[in-house]
Structure formats: structure tokens, C-alpha cells
């Protein structure tokens, strides 16, 4: 009976999880898509992933050093940012562009706000937005995946071909079909429909992690089962995007493609499960999550269907990020028993 006893506030027991374990779950959820990207884009995928992850981690360490703050790498959020940034870049992007993007994502996107938890915008999306503004050309050069281009060097091999083959993304084709508003574009649409199966498994041109809908779904379902993410945001994003695309195709089937093709293409599935669900930049309440998710879905489709860019997920997320504190304010919770007396 001579032991030293601890005294603290209740509760005295805690659920066995941590920020680190949540981030680790997200990384595990990304593994199928990482594997898919390595299969489809081989060395290019490895270079982009490695340069983004390593530079994100180094930039975060340097920021902590300069700010004289304790090391925060243990929470693994820098790794997650690195993977998500890499996934939203085209495979042909040079490694030094990855480093610049990572620097912007971590330094401006996250650390200047005070680090994890204090940032307004999703850091990876902020980094990608910066790269889109600075390196517009590189950001829209799409490598043909390995299943279609057998000459692509395997991981570790030195490239012998002069340059990687490139082609338009499915969303690029859709946009082209839309641009020529006067003539019906049934041929283009038929071409897009033809590659729908490839879009599901991911063997189409596109960003590293955006291509394989199935691998992303697998990871997303893992996160839902582990309850790492709430089901509301992905459901709201995908449902809203589906409805918007459905309305468009019903109005004009000669120019628009079916909603399923929209869901399977670009960043929608990836973003719905892995970007929009970033807890830091999404609202806290359930009602807020519905509004946020619906906003992301609708905004994405607005850009895709009537905007200038073929893909709009990044802008949609950044826009909704910026109003998520406002959403929180307008969805303030009322206690179960009503408002208390002053």
C-alpha cells in the first residue's frame, strides 16, 4: 500500500486508437490503389509516390525544426498527404515538380496554419492547386498505362523508349464531346463507353491514383468497415454527383455520358473516400457532413459539365473546405433536451 497513485479527471479509460492509428488506417486503405498505380504506371508511379512522400515528411520535419516545435511526424499525416498528392498528379510529372508541390502542400497548406488540425484547406489539394497554376502543361500530360503500352519500363528498368505514350483521359474525351455543342458527339461518347471497363480496373490515362475505381472502392470499404471515416461524406458526394450527371444525360444524351461513367472517372471515388473525408477540413456535425458532401459532388459536376476544366474535384473540395467553418456554424447542435435556461 505504498504505491504512488495517479489522480486525474474522469474518464479513466480510453478507446484504443490514436491520430496515428487513424492515419495508418488511411494508408492501409490506400494500399490497393498504390498497388494498382504501380501495375499501371510502373517506375513512373514509384518515382512520383516516393518523391511526394519523402519530401512531405522532410518538409514537415524542417518546419517543426524552424518553429522549434516537437516532432510531429509520428502522427503519419505527412505520409498521407504525400500519398494523396502523388495520387492526384499525372505519372509523367518530373520528380522536382513533386517536391515543389509537396513543399507547398506541407508548408503553405498545413504548417503556416499551425500544423495538423489547424489547416483550412486539404494540404494535398492545396499543393496540387499550386502545381496546376504553375505547371499547367505538365499537369495535363497523361501517360498511357502499361497494359496498353507494353514498352513501358518495369519498376527498376531503365527506359529505352524515347518518351512515354500519352493520350487523353476519359474526362478529357468527355469534355471534347461537350465543347462542340452544335454537332452531336455520339461517336466520342461511344468511344468513352468502350473504355468503361478499363476505367473500373484503372487501365486508362489519368492521375496516379484516380484511375482504378475498384482498388479505390476496396480501400474505401475498408475505411468504412473500420469506421475510420464516416459514411455520410462519401455517400453525399457520390449520390449528388450521380444525380447531377443523370439530369445532364437525361436532358441531352448526345453530349453527356451516363452517370456511372462519371463516377468511375477522374477523382470522384478517390476524392469521395480519401480527400473529402479529411476530418480536419470537413464539418463536425452529421448535418454539416451531408451539406459538405453534397456541395463537393455538385460543384465537381458543375465544373465537369459546364466549366472549362475536364475535372473539377480539386476545386470543389477546396471551395467547400473554405466554407466548412461556416457550415459548422449553421449546423450548430441543440442539446437533446432543448436549449438550457440561461
Amino acid at each position: 500500500m505504498s504505491q504512488n497513485l495517479f489522480v486525474s479527471h474522469s474518464p479513466h479509460i480510453r478507446k484504443h486508437h490514436s491520430t496515428q492509428s487513424i492515419m495508418l488506417d488511411v494508408i492501409i486503405g490506400l494500399v490497393p490503389a498504390i498497388a494498382a498505380s504501380l501495375i499501371f504506371f510502373r517506375t513512373r508511379a514509384a518515382i512520383v509516390l516516393a518523391s511526394c512522400i519523402i519530401s512531405c515528411v522532410i518538409f514537415e520535419a524542417l518546419c517543426n525544426l524552424f518553429r522549434k516545435k516537437p516532432n510531429s511526424l509520428g502522427d503519419l499525416s505527412a505520409v498521407v498527404t504525400g500519398i494523396i498528392l502523388a495520387f492526384s498528379l499525372p505519372p509523367s510529372i518530373p520528380f522536382w515538380v513533386c517536391i515543389i508541390g509537396s513543399g507547398f502542400a506541407i508548408i503553405i497548406g498545413k504548417m503556416v496554419f499551425g500544423g495538423l488540425g489547424a489547416n483550412i484547406f486539404n494540404p494535398a489539394m492545396a499543393g496540387r492547386c499550386f502545381l496546376t497554376a504553375c505547371f499547367g502543361g505538365m499537369m495535363v500530360s497523361w501517360t498511357v498505362p502499361a497494359l496498353i503500352d507494353p514498352q513501358m519500363p518495369k519498376v527498376g528498368e531503365v527506359s529505352t523508349a524515347p518518351a512515354a505514350l500519352t493520350q487523353a483521359t476519359p474526362l478529357g474525351l468527355i469534355k471534347e464531346a461537350l465543347k462542340n455543342k452544335t454537332a452531336p458527339q455520339d461517336e466520342k461518347i461511344a468511344e468513352i463507353k468502350g473504355i468503361f471497363k478499363n476505367m473500373l480496373i484503372g487501365s486508362t490515362a489519368g492521375c496516379l491514383g484516380e484511375t482504378s475505381a475498384l482498388a479505390l472502392l476496396l480501400g474505401g470499404i475498408y475505411l468504412l468497415i473500420k469506421r475510420t471515416i464516416d459514411w455520410i461524406i462519401p455517400t453525399a458526394v457520390l449520390a449528388t454527383a450521380f444525380i447531377c450527371a443523370l439530369i445532364a444525360v437525361e436532358l441531352d444524351p448526345h453530349h453527356y455520358v451516363s452517370p456511372l461513367i462519371h463516377l468511375a472517372s477522374g477523382a470522384l471515388i478517390f476524392g469521395a473516400f480519401f480527400i473529402a473525408t479529411d476530418p480536419v477540413t470537413a464539418p463536425l456535425t452529421k448535418k454539416g457532413m451531408w451539406i459538405f458532401g453534397a456541395g463537393v459532388g455538385a460543384m465537381t459536376m458543375l465544373i465537369r459539365l459546364v466549366g472549362e476544366y475536364p475535372e473539377g474535384f480539386m476545386f470543389a473540395v477546396l471551395l467547400m473546405n473554405s466554407i466548412s467553418p461556416l457550415i459548422d456554424r449553421f449546423t450548430k447542435l441543440t442539446p437533446a433536451g432543448g436549449k438550457p435556461n440561461a
Partner: protein, 446 residues
């Protein structure tokens, strides 16, 4: 049959669930707190060196909302002094040295039988007996029961809910009570029903105690005076035994945030309180003993005890085999809402249903990391407020913002802290915020 929010901590009831309630021998010394309840603090009625007998009133107050305290043993008053109180820090207590011999037989409660007739007692008699016996809510709140069972014609009670959830991890004394003292508990319920003239009775038991549910269902059918009581198996989820949550689960009604259950015509009482009521009314025994679970991986031999109020926590822990080598935290109450104590001489009060001893395995010391706004605290909150916003406001000394997020609605159940991946003491900040507000209003000394 449940409420929104809540958490599912591992219940660890297996440590003590099979241990029958054991009446403990009279300890050498007892410290009877003068404040063991909500309401006016008792004034001592005895002086140093006075001789007291078991059941004698030794402290009382005139206020309507209060409850007298009694000596559990024959002995002498050694001192009236400050001693460690689990909630208040230090508080005045009457310290009694018991006579080595010449003690009355241990109170042996289980002598109620199925022929018990509650109509033999008038509502006024029941109220008087409960008031005299010093009975308070034994589930933890400590609200004087006499006040609750005084019929008020202006706002009659329409439903009586018996709280037999025992939703805190580790605690099993109510469960044992339900199995061992079934008839006595039902007699107490019948007396409450008689006092308030209310026949809608719901006995809410969490569905992780199927044998208690079965025992009560059988008893309610076979015992004449208990016919018509409803036994309800509610979902196992913490804090199902919170009165607001249990009312929501059983009646689907919300208690007003600043109000109490009688405002919507509901009375909630814990099973141990019911047993004490039966004893007080029928046997004239004041509340001097209560069931206590001593459990946790930090005690060698967990068990359930029927122990005198005023007994030191340390002595009871010794009866449970003593602390293990790696015990790091001793809690008066359960791990979710109990109070950690530093002083093992802290005495039991009428509301101490458990002593839980944790080891580093249960109680990992981790550092607070930044909030990642994941919303798990919001989802876990059973009263639907936003713990992280409130805690953040309190931390930055913005009490007006904390109030805008309805800090006062917090029931301090601990679900938010429990579910926080960043290990933020959300409940702790909110409790602190409430104290700061009370001080600013001069309701509490600084």
C-alpha cells in the same frame, strides 16, 4: 430501445460478476462524511467522546433537500475533523471508533417474502421512514430520495423507471443485488409506487445481464405485489444508466436540459436505493451499509461487498486481496465517471458503488495531441452537444463561447474523452469550464 450517441467500452464485469455479496466485518474506525448528498450539509449532533449506537442519527440538517447521517456501529466519537472526500477534496466527517465486541448482528437484508403488502404503509409513513433513514440516490447522484417520493399534486409522477442498467464498466454490485435480493428490491419499488400513487413501472436492465432480466421477469409474474411491473431489456451501451438516456430509451421522452425528470412526470431510482427503501420502511434500518464492488486488474481478488458507509477505501481493497504491484489508479466509482483518489483512507459514502483499481494496461498515460476535428466526440455525445468546440473555448478562456455551445447541458459522462483519438481531456475541460462559470457567478468559492 436506446438513445443517440454513447460508447461501448469493454465492460470487464467478468472479474467480479460471479462473486456473491459478502457482508464485511465491522472495521475499527469509520469516517462518516457530513456531506454525502446533494442539498444542505448536515450539522453534527454528537460531540467528541460521545458514545453512539448503531443506527443513531449523528448528523442532520433542517432543510427539505437534505438527508441525515447515521452511525453504522456501536462505538465512540473519536473526533470531528476534515478528511479526504472523493469529490470535495477535504470535508468534515465524524470519526467513530467501534467497540471491538458488542456489535449488533450484521444487517441481513434478504428477509422479505412474497406476501409483502405495500398497502400496509401509507404514503406519508413511507416518506417519513425514507427521510429518517437518510436515503439518497445510491447510483451516484446522491439526491435525497425523500424529496423525490414526496407526492406533489401539482406535477404528479406518471412513470417510475427503475435504473438497473449498471452501465459503467467493472461494476457488478447492482447486478448481484438483483440476483440475490430480488424480492427486497421489488418491495422497495412497490413502496415508491405506493408513495407516489403511480402504477407505470419500468425496470430497465441492460441486455448484457440476461440472467438478471430473466430473474426479474419471473419474479414480476409470480410475486403478487410486483404484478404489472414492466421489465425492459435495454441495449448495452454506456451511458444507458444515465437517467436522461434511460428515460429516452424506455419512454422516448427528453428531459428538459436545465430540468429534472419530475418535470416530465418521471421518477428514476436505482436498484440499490429501492433495496434501501424497503429496509428503511419495513425494518426501520437507516442507510448505513451499501453494496460496493471492488474490482479492476489492480486488485488481487475482486468481489462484491456489503460495507458500512464510512469505511476507508484502503480497508475494503485489503478485503479484496489488496493492490497488485502494478496498480496505478484507485477510483471511487467506475472508470468512466468515478473520481480518482490519492488517499486510501478516503471513506465510502452513500453514493460509492464501486472502487475500481486500474493498472497501466487500462490506463495508458498518453499526451494530448492536436484535435483533428474528426467528430468522434460529437458522434459519441449522448446529449448532442459539441464537446470539442466547448473544450477548445474553455482552453482559450472564452467562457461565453463555451456557453453558446451549451456547456451547461453536459452530463459529464466521459464519452467524448473516451472516444477522442487525440487524447484530449474533453470532459475535464468542460468540467473546468462549468466550475469557472460557477465561480464567475459567485456560486462557488474561488
Amino acid at each position: 430501445m436506446t438513445f443517440k450517441g454513447g460508447v461501448h467500452p469493454p465492460d470487464r464485469k467478468e472479474l467480479s460478476a460471479q462473486r456473491a455479496i459478502q457482508t464485511v466485518a465491522v472495521p475499527k474506525q469509520l469516517s462518516i462524511m457530513l456531506s454525502q448528498h446533494i442539498g444542505a450539509i448536515c450539522k453534527p449532533l454528537v460531540n467528541k467522546k460521545d458514545t453512539v449506537t448503531a443506527g443513531q442519527v449523528i448528523g442532520n440538517a433542517d432543510a427539505f433537500v437534505s438527508a441525515p447521517v447515521h452511525s453504522p456501529v456501536n462505538g465512540t466519537v473519536k473526533d470531528i475533523a476534515l478528511c479526504s472526500h472523493p469529490v470535495l477534496g477535504r470535508a468534515e466527517a465524524i470519526i467513530i471508533e467501534s467497540n471491538a465486541d458488542n456489535q449488533p448482528k450484521h444487517p441481513c437484508p434478504n428477509n422479505f417474502d412474497v406476501d409483502f403488502d405495500p398497502t400496509y404503509y401509507s404514503p406519508d409513513q413511507i416518506f417519513e421512514a425514507v427521510r429518517k433513514a437518510g436515503i439518497v440516490g445510491m447510483g451516484g447522484a446522491g439526491f435525497p430520495t425523500s424529496v423525490k417520493i414526496k407526492a406533489n399534486p401539482q406535477s404528479p409522477i406518471t412513470d417510475i423507471i427503475i435504473n438497473a442498467c449498471e452501465c459503467e464498466p467493472f461494476i457488478t454490485c447492482d447486478y448481484r443485488l438483483m440476483l440475490e435480493w430480488t424480492i427486497q428490491i421489488l418491495a422497495g419499488i412497490a413502496l415508491i409506487s405506493r408513495a407516489l400513487n403511480c402504477k407505470n413501472i419500468y425496470i430497465g436492465i441492460e441486455d448484457n445481464k440476461p440472467d438478471a432480466v430473466a430473474t426479474f421477469k419471473k419474479a414480476v409474474e409470480s410475486i403478487p405485489f410486483a404484478n404489472g411491473m414492466n421489465v425492459v431489456a435495454v441495449k448495452t451501451k454506456y451511458p444507458q444508466g444515465g437517467e436522461r438516456q434511460l428515460i429516452k430509451s424506455i419512454l422516448n421522452k427528453d428531459v428538459p436540459t436545465s430540468g429534472i425528470p419530475p418535470m416530465i412526470g418521471v421518477l428514476v431510482s436505482n436498484v440499490a436505493t429501492c433495496a434501501a427503501i424497503a429496509e428503511a420502511v419495513v425494518l426501520n434500518n437507516p442507510l448505513t451499509y451499501r453494496p460496493v464492488t471492488v474490482s479492476g486488474r489492480g486488485v488481487k481478488n475482486p468481489g462484491n461487498f456489503y460495507a458500512p458507509v464510512g469505511m476507508a477505501a484502503g480497508e475494503l481493497i485489503e478485503l479484496a486481496g489488496g493492490l497488485t504491484e502494478d496498480a496505478v489508479k484507485v477510483i471511487m466509482g467506475g472508470p468512466m465517471m468515478g473520481f480518482a483518489i490519492a488517499d486510501l483512507s478516503t471513506p465510502l459514502t452513500k453514493t460509492s458503488g464501486a472502487i475500481t483499481v486500474l493498472t497501466p494496461k487500462d490506463f495508458p498515460k498518453r499526451k494530448e495531441t492536436p484535435c483533428i476535428r474528426c467528430g468522434r466526440c460529437v458522434a459519441a455525445c449522448p446529449v448532442n452537444i459539441n464537446p470539442t468546440k466547448i473544450a477548445h473555448a474553455v482552453k482559450n478562456n472564452m467562457l461565453d463561447v463555451a456557453k453558446q455551445y451549451y456547456m451547461s447541458a453536459c452530463i459529464e459522462c466521459g464519452c467524448c474523452s473516451y472516444s477522442c483519438p487525440a487524447d484530449i481531456e474533453l470532459t475535464g475541460y468542460i468540467k473546468t469550464g462549468k466550475i469557472l462559470v460557477a465561480r464567475a457567478k459567485k456560486l462557488m468559492p474561488a
